[in-house]
């Protein structure tokens, strides 16, 4: 009978206790693997999303808030920038593309974003394929036509031809507090295919719609025929004024030098700021790294505590089995055979814990990734099994063997003759 078989039998003899000890190890490994996998893929995904936007022009205020609202649709905008800035950028030869974003309304918690079809081209460039609408949809042509992101369509069950009324603001308030634009409903004209970007969690309409719904006429020299805002014209009345502001602008430059020049130019404006989203996201991720370190630290601490549990459990077993160990020695087992049995037992417990931890950790990471995707539209691409997972499992195994070292040493040093005595 081999030392491994004997270790296995001893493990089996105290199955409930050993399962609990292994689960403690597994819990620590689960936390480490889930935290590492989600944090790493979130960073990659957020950087990929932010990196697709070269320059963001938004109202002065927190750049982080501007990035969160304009790129990820998860915060209120910092304010509005003059339409004049849009015109200025559009006519600049260093600008390859400028995409307006007009925000202010929501539907059941999802942003309604006024923009142009260029926004979809920008997303298409980011994901490496054109953004498609599901048949029989088409991109909005007139104001109050809505193109619905895949996640929103899924969550709200919207279909082409459905009509809905937007709510002023971004919070789904109770009926008595809400300010619905009841007389100006939207009509769904398309559902977008999934893009795995924040675009999945928003509803898009023509940029003019947002002005129209807030009783504003088109700005001067706006290149959309006024007739196209016809539903809003029905609302024409006293107090209407021309729109002069837009929420944010996404700018693609002809070159990096152009972007730097545009940034400097916008920076001089008293009411607008130019933001390089990748820089903001990098800074944000740096802040988050502190939290990530805390989570990982706590996870490792849990794992280390689990190994103390192995050590205590194995030490108790060694004391409990004094006579059995002495018997094995009397039957001819060398001191190292006894050491091997105890180390193998500790290694088996930590191996099962590590395997359970890797499986549960990956499972937890997939669940968390699905939740993040559901909440933000960001797809977190988790590798099926990362080298970090294997490394974590190996460290757990090594710690387990280390935890068995003290009980093994105690067994190694046992007084065989004394422990063989029936009176002992």
């Amino acid at each position: 009978m081999s030392a491994l078989m004997l270790a296995w039998r001893y493990l089996h003899a105290r199955l409930p206790l050993n399962v609990l000890t292994a689960l403690t190890v597994g819990f620590g490994v689960t936390l480490i693997i889930a935290a590492s996998a989600v944090s790493s893929s979130t960073k990659t995904s957020v950087m990929q999303s932010a990196g697709g936007y070269q320059l963001l022009v938004a109202a002065k205020g927190s750049p982080v808030q501007a990035v969160m609202s304009s790129l990820f649709f998860i915060d209120a905008p910092t304010g509005n920038v003059p339409v004049e800035v849009y015109r200025q950028l559009k006519s600049d030869r260093g600008v390859a593309r400028v995409v307006p974003l007009n925000m202010g309304d929501s539907y059941r918690g999802f942003y309604i974003v006024g923009t142009t079809p260029d926004y979809f081209a920008l997303i298409g460039d980011m994901i490496g394929r054109p953004v498609q609408t599901r048949p029989p949809g088409r991109v909005f042509e007139k104001p109050f036509e809505a193109v619905v992101g895949a996640g929103v369509a899924h969550d709200l069950g919207l279909k082409v031809g459905n009509r809905f009324v937007a709510l002023h603001g971004f919070i789904d308030l109770p009926a008595d507090l809400a300010d619905p634009h009841e007389r100006l409903p939207y009509t769904v004209v398309a559902l977008l295919e999934k893009t795995n970007t924040p675009a999945d969690k928003a509803i898009f309409t023509r940029v003019e719609t947002i002005w129209a719904i807030h009783h504003q006429d088109l700005p001067d020299a706006w290149d959309t025929p006024a007739a196209e805002t016809e539903p809003a014209h029905r609302d024409r009345g006293a107090g209407r004024k021309k729109a002069s502001e837009i929420t944010a602008l996404l700018v693609q430059g002809q070159s990096y030098m152009d972007l730097l020049r545009l940034s400097s130019m916008i920076g001089k404006s008293p009411s607008a700021q130019a933001i390089f989203p990748a820089r903001i996201v990098t800074r944000l991720l740096d802040y988050l790294r502190i939290g990530e370190s805390v989570v990982l630290g706590v996870s490792w601490l849990t794992t280390v505590v689990a190994f103390f549990a192995i050590m205590i459990s194995m030490l108790a077993a060694t004391i409990d089995r004094r006579r059995q160990i002495a018997t094995l020695r009397a039957l001819g087992a060398g001191q190292w055979v006894i050491v091997r049995i105890i180390l193998l037992e500790a290694a088996l417990i930590s191996t099962f814990g590590a395997i359970a931890g890797v499986v549960a950790g990956r499972g937890a990471a997939y669940v968390l990734a699905a939740l993040v995707e559901r909440m933000s539209g960001l797809r977190l691409d988790l590798a099926p099994i990362a080298s970090a997972d294997i490394m974590t499992a190996l460290i757990a195994l090594a710690l387990g063997i280390l935890a068995g070292a003290i009980p093994a040493y105690s067994a190694y040093r046992q007084d065989v003759a004394r422990n063989l005595s029936p009176s002992f």
């Binding site: 018997t327 094995l328 039957l331 087992a333 063989l420 029936p422």
Partner: protein, 219 residues
């Protein structure tokens, strides 16, 4: 041969000479504290004498390294314990297989059949897969005897092998122990204070006579 023990060394064993012929059966008789168990532990290499020599089957145990003494014990000695000392998570068959893993005497493919055969010889052929907790005391000691014979040892030592058994079982276990040792041509050394066991053996040594350390101790 002299053996001292404890932080403040006390001589517990002082035997001028004891010879046991190969294949014979010898009893060590004496009350508790007379040094029977210590002598068995010295003879099996579990304890090393402070002075003098113990030669078993031509091997001077004091000249062996601790590892070599372990191998010697695995290959040439079988141990029968008072409290049976079976390993609880293992079945009867596995308990008999256990010492075969510590010595390289029985080829791997023959180990199982050897263990089955030994358990058959102690009338436990029908209890191969029972764990110690599922066996009676008598059955446990029979497994212990089969285990002691596993590696064809030249020497079987039995320390109070009937002390934990019901009185009715003493004769049965004593007869079994002697007969299987004879069949295996193994020398049998039994430490006991049970006369009904010792009368089955060819020779009995009184530890109080043999061990001058014990006899010189004040009563």
């Amino acid at each position: 041969m002299d053996f001292r023990s404890g932080g403040r060394p006390v001589t517990v064993l002082n035997i001028s000479h004891l010879a046991v012929a190969a294949g014979s059966s010898v009893g060590l008789f004496g009350p508790s504290g007379s040094g029977k168990t210590t002598l068995l532990n010295v003879i099996t290499g579990i304890l090393t004498p402070s002075a003098g020599n113990v030669v078993v089957d031509g091997v001077d145990l004091a000249s062996l390294s601790p590892g070599a003494r372990d191998r010697f014990r695995a290959e040439r000695v079988g141990y029968v314990f008072q409290a049976f000392n079976l390993i609880p998570p293992l079945t009867a068959l596995e308990n008999v297989l256990l010492p075969m893993g510590f010595a390289a005497r029985i080829p791997k493919r023959q180990q199982r059949s050897r263990a089955q055969e030994l358990l058959g010889r102690v009338n436990l052929g029908h209890r191969l897969h029972h764990k110690p907790a599922e066996l009676s005391h008598g059955e446990q000691q029979r497994v212990g005897i089969a285990r002691a014979l596993a590696n064809h040892p030249q020497l079987i030592v039995a320390d109070e092998p009937t002390a934990s058994l019901e009185p009715g079982l003493t004769q049965e276990i004593a007869r079994l122990l002697v007969s299987v040792c004879q069949e295996e041509h193994a020398t049998l050394l039994v430490a006991s204070h049970d006369h009904s066991l010792l009368r089955h053996l060819a020779r009995v040594e009184d530890m109080q006579v043999l061990n001058t350390a014990a006899s010189s101790e004040p009563a």
